[in-house]
């Protein structure tokens, strides 16, 4: 009997002790809202590898393609709304889709807890090696003289990130984005092919996509759309700002959680990412995936994403994409 009493007492004590014990995810999972191999997959792999020492068991990466994240967003808002173990990869493309109502009429930027960033990529203005334009200035002058004389193309539809880059650039010289000759391809690879094949003159792509092309003598970066010059091997490319065109396009990558996840769990994950930002191992993993430094977690990241969605919404309204 005595042993039973002790056991009971221990149980009661443990019961009281439990809430005090820090949260720890049981089976951590990262949902990549796309097929394997794409950007969302890479984003999840960054978390999987970087967080390995901080998690009791390895993080599982699962895939949920559909509507460039829309299916996963709906899923998180129904089945996993308070699941403390799951994070979902996101990019600025997701924010853009939310802004344009492409995540469904029922959802907006307040239907998730924006967790932390993984890193960022930046827009780039890319031309063929033998293109007549040597600088962004020359290209912009030509566009100003004859807006329909240049064929722009990229891996997204009208209203996508790639289109936005082109539209913002053209806005700086007073050209209405609706007058652009813009060709939508499926993804960056097809756009690069179209650029090489001479079907388009300018590709408004991303810096990291060019890693394999540097020194190959096939394409050139005219300008990068970052705030400041990028680290090597991209340090030689001027920013659009330097050239006098104030356009910055940051493609951030990060994670979100369900909107009803407890503060305790959310804070635990935020703390893990904040630890990572100081870890040189994380910097290495991030660089391997072609991402640049972009550290932001918790309330700051939450505010950033919401602010981005709001500014994307204004842009889309201005371009006549939404009412």
């Amino acid at each position: 009997m005595k042993s039973l009493k002790t056991a009971l007492a221990a149980l009661v004590l443990a019961g009281f002790a439990l809430p005090a014990a820090a949260f720890e995810p049981e089976r951590a999972e990262c949902i990549a809202p796309a097929n394997p191999g794409g950007g969302f997959d890479l984003t999840c792999r960054v978390a999987q590898r970087a967080l390995e020492p901080a998690l009791p068991s390895p993080m599982e990466v699962t895939f949920m393609p559909g509507g460039i994240g829309a299916v996963a967003y709906a899923h998180m808002n129904s089945n996993r709304i308070d699941d403390p173990n799951v994070i979902v990869a996101l990019s600025s493309g997701s924010a853009l889709n939310i802004a344009q109502g492409k995540f469904g009429a029922d959802f907006d930027e307040n239907d998730a807890r924006w967790l932390a960033s993984a890193g960022a990529d930046f827009g780039a203005v890319i031309v063929r090696e033998d293109s007549p334009y040597q600088t962004l200035g020359e290209l912009m002058e030509a566009a100003k003289a004859d807006p329909t004389g240049i064929v722009l193309g990229a891996g997204g539809s009208i209203g996508s990130q790639d289109w936005m880059k082109a539209a913002l650039l053209m806005r700086t010289i007073g050209v209405d984005p609706r007058n652009l000759r813009y060709v939508a391809y499926e993804g960056g690879g097809a756009s690069k092919a179209a650029l090489l094949g001479g079907q388009i003159d300018v590709y408004t792509g991303d810096v990291s996509e060019m890693a394999g092309e540097l020194g190959a003598g096939t394409m050139r970066i005219l300008a990068v759309l970052s705030e400041e010059r990028l680290p090597e091997p991209f340090a030689g490319f001027p920013t659009a700002r330097e050239e006098g065109y104030d356009v910055v396009w940051t493609i951030f990558r990060g994670y979100y959680m369900g909107q009803e996840v407890s503060d305790e769990a959310y804070d635990w994950w935020v703390a893990r990412f904040e630890e990572l930002y100081g870890d040189p191992r994380f910097a290495e993993i991030r660089a391997e995936q072609g991402l640049f430094q972009f550290d932001m977690a918790g309330a700051e990241f939450d505010a950033y994403v919401k602010e981005q969605v709001a500014s994307f919404r204004d842009l889309a309204r201005e371009a006549g994409l939404i009412q």
């Binding site: 097929n35 394997p36 191999g37 794409g38 997959d41 890479l42 792999r45 990466v61 699962t62 895939f63 949920m64 393609p65 559909g66 509507g67 460039i68 829309a70 299916v71 967003y73 709906a74 344009q100 492409k102 995540f103 469904g104 009429a105 329909t148 064929v151 997204g156 539809s157 009208i158 209203g159 996508s160 000759r181 813009y182 060709v183 939508a184 391809y185 499926e186 993804g187 690879g189 097809a190 690069k192 092919a193 179209a194 090489l196 094949g197 001479g198 079907q199 388009i200 890693a211 394999g212 092309e213 020194g215 190959a216 096939t218 391997e288 995936q289 072609g290 994409l321």
Partner: protein, 499 residues
Amino acid sequence: MDILAGLAEGFAVALTPLNLGLLIVGCFFGTLVGALPGIGPINGVAILLPLAYSLGLPAESALILLAGVYYGAEYGGRISSILLNVPGDASAVMTTLDGHPMAKNGEAGRALALSALASFVGGTAALVMMTVFAPFLGRVAVGFGPGDYVALMVFAFSCLATLVGSRPLKTIIGVVIGLMLATIGIDSATGVMRFTMGIPNLFDGMEFLIVVIGLFAISEALLLLESWTPVASTIRAQRDNIGERVREIVGYRWTMARSAVIGFFVGVLPGTGASIASAVAYGVEKRMAQGDDAMFGKGDPRGLVAPETANNAAAAGAMVPMLTLGIPGSGTTAILLGALLLFNVTPGPLMFEQRPEVAWGLIASMYMGNIALLVLNLPMVGIFARLLSIDTAYLVPLVVMLTFVGVFSLYGATFDLVLMLILGFSGYVLRKLGFSLAPVILGLVLGALLESNLRRALSISAGDWSILFETPAAIVFWLLAILVATSPLVMRVRRRKAT
């Protein structure tokens, strides 16, 4: 002699015991994945990718494993097409047209053996073309503009007309249904949602595989249930003589040569792929056989050999833009490309210089893979053919179960299962009304490509339609399309004159 030196280096990589073992594992898994309805090469590669990654394999070994799956699936896809009239993946749709009738005529073993040999010939011929012409072809492929694609699609549509048989109107209706399905989803040019009814699962459009599985597998199961005769009584499995098949396949050398070339070149073009290659090859073969084509669609071996040669050739062709330019030519090569990135190999024009062991190792492993697959597949012909002696009572639930698992494994969405069932019942109704289902699938595949490329062409030319007839390639395709579309008429007139 750079090519030979590179290839030699590649074989040195591919023939290490680890890589050879991985290749055989990949080929076997791929055949299985291809043969199971619902699980195609994309799923197979996607399933193994995380595994390969967590095993910590070196880049070339991982890629060899994944390429084995990719390749094996093209071999495996034919098995269920022939035996069950259910394509194992989208590129095996054409194989059902003559493959299944052969099985029904009691020639399942012959069809399986012939198609394995044709796959081997197509794959190997395409590899040789790839080894020799890859760098050159990569450049040609990117020069192929939207206007050229439009002309190619029109040509493919005109080849479709050869499928018509005795019911031209029904084929056209089938194609139109496919075209209508192709319009569902977010419009790739403007980002506007079309016919999605606010359902997020439809935003990306109709998934080919779900349409294929729904239309073919579910409707086939329903038909089997309806007839309720044990399959064993209608289809007799028999032992087959491999030596005789090898002699027979030599007789189809010109069919295979034409189909391999068509398959390879269609495969090289980014965005087209094996389903279109096999449709074009089938159409061309039927045209070539004019006057002697009565058996097409009823179990003509040429109608089986042509698409099987072409889809394997296309699978190899699709690797060309990926390896030379870092541009994926198909859904599966896009995943392979992602795998490269994951293993820190930057795909692109410099890959052959920077990581020759990966690039050439992969090519050499594909040669080995073809041999391994032939060796794996021929002895299994008898075993597979015996599947047909399974009683309907067991076969139908088995097929239905596999389709559910396959479709669910795609995205893990119950919505897809409902969609598959709706399509399945529609397919059943269509078949009862005497429609053939292949035109629906091809309408879907071709329609999406035709539309996006037509709109690209017109946004490049600012609305000027002459862009569609600007290049030599486009003009050649238009002429071929006219030739193929009018040849039945011409033949009829000639025959009338002759009599």
